[in-house]
Symmetry: C2
Subunit: 408 residues, 2 copies
C-alpha cells in the first residue's frame, strides 16, 4: 500500500492558464479503461523535456526528441497499456501515425504533437484502437481535468500523482501543476517514467532545456524502486507564458531562481510519490549521504543502499539489520573510502562509527525507528562538503507478486 | 528449492592427500548446530586466495590477507553464525584470538592460520563459544570429512555444495576437491562468499596467486543472486604437492593449463551450485553475451540482465515478458550500443532482432522455454569476438521471505 500517500484532492490541482486536458477510452488493455490523455497547449507555449538514456528507448521517445527540436508544441498524447518499445521501424511509424491523427483533429502540424506510451514492451502499438478514441479525448478538453489525467496515465500505480503550487515570480502569481505516473521499473536516468509539469510563467525558450534538466536532477533523478531504468522515461516541462510576468531571459535572474524553486517543489513531490507508491511498498525510505568529497560519490553510495534487495527486505521486515547498510556502503564502488571515519544514522539514532556498531547503540533504538513508515538513513562521510539524497521504498512480497503477475 | 541440485553423494567427494577436515559445534547461533570447521594442511602445502573488494570487509578477510603474505599456511578455521564484519578493532582482535587458539592446539604460528567467518554482520564474534569448541574440531580431523565440512559452512544454503575431479597433470593423477557456501548476498567482486578448493598437485608458490585469480574470474566472479557484494567473500586454493607430479613452474606449460582446467571445472560447478541454491530460487538462469567488442561490455550487459528484479520476477512467473530483457540490455551502460543489430535468444528461440520482436517469434515458443528449470538467455551483439557468461536464479516470494526473516 502507498506509504503516507493518497490521491490528491481534485480541487488541489490548480488549472494552468493555456493548458486543457481531455481523457478517453481506447480499450487498449481493458475495455472501458480510460487510457488516452490529450493535453492541449495554447499557441506560444514552450515545452522542453528530458528522456530515458536506455539504448532500447521507445519509439515515442525518439519522436518526442525530434518534435521538441522543431519547437512549436501544441499537444501531448499519452496512452497506457502499451509502451511501443522494442518495436523497431514499425513502432516509429505507428507513433507518427498517432501524431498525425491528433494534428489533423487540432489543425496543427504532426511535428507539434508529442507522443508518449507506457505499458508492455515488445508488442505492437494498437493504433486501430487509439485513433478512433482521439475525437472523444478532444471533445473532453477542459482546464480542470488534471485529476482525470493523473488517473488516466496510471499503470501499476495504486494512487494518482499530482501536485500544485503558486508562487510570486517577477511580481506576478504563477501557477505550477504537475502529474506523474510510475511505481515500477523506476530507476530514472535523466528523467522518470512519465512526468508532466506545466506553468503559466513566461520564460525564454532558450532557458527551458536547462530548467527541465536542473529540476529533473533534484527530483525524478533521485528516485529508485527496483533499479530498472525504463525504456519510456519522459519528463516534460510546459510554460504557457500567460501569467503576465516579464519573460525570464537569464538563469542568473532572481525570477529564474523563484520559478525553479516552485517547479522543483512540484517535481519533488511527484518524484517522492512514485517511491511512496513503489510496487509493493510498505515504507518510504530517504537515503541522505552527506559531507562527501563530491556529489557523484554521495549519489553512488546513496543508490547502493537504496537499490540493495537485502537492505530493502530488512526494511520490509522492520528489522534493524544494519550490517546490510554497511555492506552496501562498502561495495558502492568508492574505492578509497575509509570506513573507520564515517557515521551511519537510522533516523536520529547513531548506529555505526569507527568501522563498527556505535557503542551507544541499542537494538531497541533501531527497532523503534524501524516501526515508522517514513525512515531516513543518513551516512556522514566526513571528507568534504558534497551531499546527495535518494528516495526509495522497501521490498515486499507484493513487489514479487505484482511483477510476476503483471502480464499473465 | 534448489534447481537441479542435490547434496553431493559423500563418496563423490574425493580425499586430497595432505588435507584433513574436522567439524565441531560451538552453538554460536543455535545450540548443537555444527558451526566450526577446521581444515589442516600438511607441511609444504601452498595456499592463495582472492577476497571481497567491499570496503567494509570483515576482520577475518583482513587477517587472511596478512597471513597469506607470510606464506606457510597450516590450517583454516571457519565459523558460521557470525560474520565478524563491521566490528572495527575489536573484531580484528577476536579473529586473531581465534587464530592463536588454533595455532596453540596445532603447534604452529598464529600467522599460519587463516580465519573465516560468515553470518550476521555488525555483531561481536563470540570467541567465548568458539575457543572451547576447537579441541573437538581437532579431534575430528580426517581426510574424508569433506561432506561434513560442506554442511558445516552452510548458512541460508539449502543444499551442501561440493565437487571433485581427477585429471592427469604431468603424467600423474591429481585430485581436486572443493566446497563452497553461499545463496544470498551473492554478487562476488574478486571471489564469492566462501569457497575452498584443494588439490594435491605440485605447483610453485609464485604461480598460486595467478591461478586462483584466473579460476575465480571464470567461476565465482560470474555468479549473482541479488547484486549484493558480501563483506566476507573469500575463495582459497590449496595445493599440497603430494600427487607426485613435477612441480609446475610456468604458466605457459601444458601442466599449468591442465591443472587450471580441472580446478576451474570444480570451481564452476561450485559457483553454479550457489545460483542453483540462490535464496528462493525456482529457476537457474545462464546469461551468455556473445560477439561483443570486449569482455567488459559483455559482462556489463550480462550482469544488467542477471541483476534486474523485473527480469528475475518474470522468470519466476514463467512469463516470457521479454521486453524486460531488452530494457536491461538498453540500460546496461554500453552507450554506443546499436540495438537494431543485436539478437536475443531464449533457449534456442530467436525472440528479438532489428530493435524489436523477431518476425518468426510466437508467444507459445517463449512460454515453452519458460517452463524449463534451466534456461539460457543469449545476447549476440554482432560487433566483435568477446564473450561473457553469468549465472543467476529467479526472484521469488521466498527470496523476500528468507531475507525478511533471516535475523528476526
Amino acid at each position: 500500500m502507498p506509504v503516507n500517500l493518497t490521491t490528491p484532492d481534485p480541487a488541489s490541482l490548480l488549472p494552468v492558464a493555456g493548458v486543457r486536458l481531455g481523457i478517453a477510452s481506447a480499450g487498449i488493455k481493458k475495455p472501458g479503461r480510460r487510457d488516452i490523455t490529450l493535453i492541449e497547449l495554447a499557441p506560444g507555449s514552450r515545452a522542453a523535456g528530458v528522456f530515458t538514456q536506455n539504448r532500447f528507448c521507445a519509439a515515442p521517445v525518439t519522436l518526442c526528441k525530434q518534435h521538441l527540436a522543431h519547437g512549436h508544441i501544441r499537444a501531448l498524447v499519452i496512452n497506457t497499456g502499451n509502451a511501443n518499445a522494442g518495436t523497431g521501424e514499425e513502432g516509429l511509424r505507428r507513433a507518427h501515425q498517432t501524431c498525425e491523427a491528433v494534428a489533423q483533429l487540432m489543425g496543427c502540424a504532426a511535428e507539434s504533437v508529442l507522443p508518449f506510451s507506457t505499458g508492455v514492451i515488445l508488442e505492437p502499438l494498437p493504433v486501430d484502437k487509439i485513433l478512433p478514441a482521439l475525437p472523444a479525448a478532444l471533445a473532453d478538453l477542459a482546464p480542470d481535468h488534471w485529476p482525470e489525467a493523473a488517473h488516466a496515465i496510471m499503470t501499476t500505480d495504486i494512487v494518482a500523482k499530482g501536485a500544485s503550487r503558486e508562487a510570486l515570480v517577477g511580481g506576478k502569481t504563477v501557477t505550477v501543476t504537475g502529474i506523474a505516473k510510475g511505481s515500477g521499473m523506476i530507476h530514472p536516468n535523466m528523467a522518470t517514467m512519465l512526468g508532466y509539469v506545466a506553468t503559466d510563467a513566461a520564460i525564454a525558450p532558450a532557458l527551458m532545456q536547462q530548467l527541465v534538466k536542473e529540476v529533473a536532477d533534484i527530483s525524478f533523478n533521485c528516485v529508485t524502486v527496483d533499479g530498472d531504468t525504463s525504456t519510456n522515461d519522459s519528463f516534460i516541462l510546459i510554460a504557457t507564458g500567460q501569467a503576465g510576468n516579464n519573460e525570464i531571459t537569464a538563469t542568473a535572474s532572481p525570477d529564474y531562481a523563484a520559478l525553479k524553486a516552485v517547479v522543483s517543489a512540484v517535481a519533488i513531490e511527484l518524484a517522492q510519490a512514485m517511491a511512496r507508491d513503489g510496487e509493493g511498498a510498505t515504507k518510504f525510505i530517504t537515503v541522505a549521504v552527506e559531507s562527501g568529497r563530491d556529489h557523484a560519490e554521495c549519489k553512488q553510495i546513496a543508490y547502493a543502499i537504496a537499490r540493495s534487495p537485502l537492505v530493502k527486505t530488512a526494511f520490509f521486515a522492520s528489522d534493524p539489520n544494519l550490517g546490510r547498510i554497511l555492506a552496501a556502503i562498502g561495495y558502492a564502488g568508492v574505492t578509497d573510502l575509509d570506513v573507520t571515519t564515517l557515521q551511519v544514522y537510522l533516523g536520529d539514532v547513531l548506529v555505526a562509527e569507527k568501522g563498527g556498531r556505535a557503542a551507544s547503540y541499542t537494538e531497541a533504538q533501531g527497532a523503534a525507528v524501524m516501526q515508522q513508515a517514513d525512515i531516513t538513513v543518513r551516512v556522514i562521510l566526513n571528507r568534504g562538503d558534497a551531499a546527495a539524497t535518494v528516495w526509495t521504498c522497501d521490498f515486499s512480497y507484493d513487489y514479487v507478486k505484482i511483477n510476476a503477475e503483471y502480464r499473465t
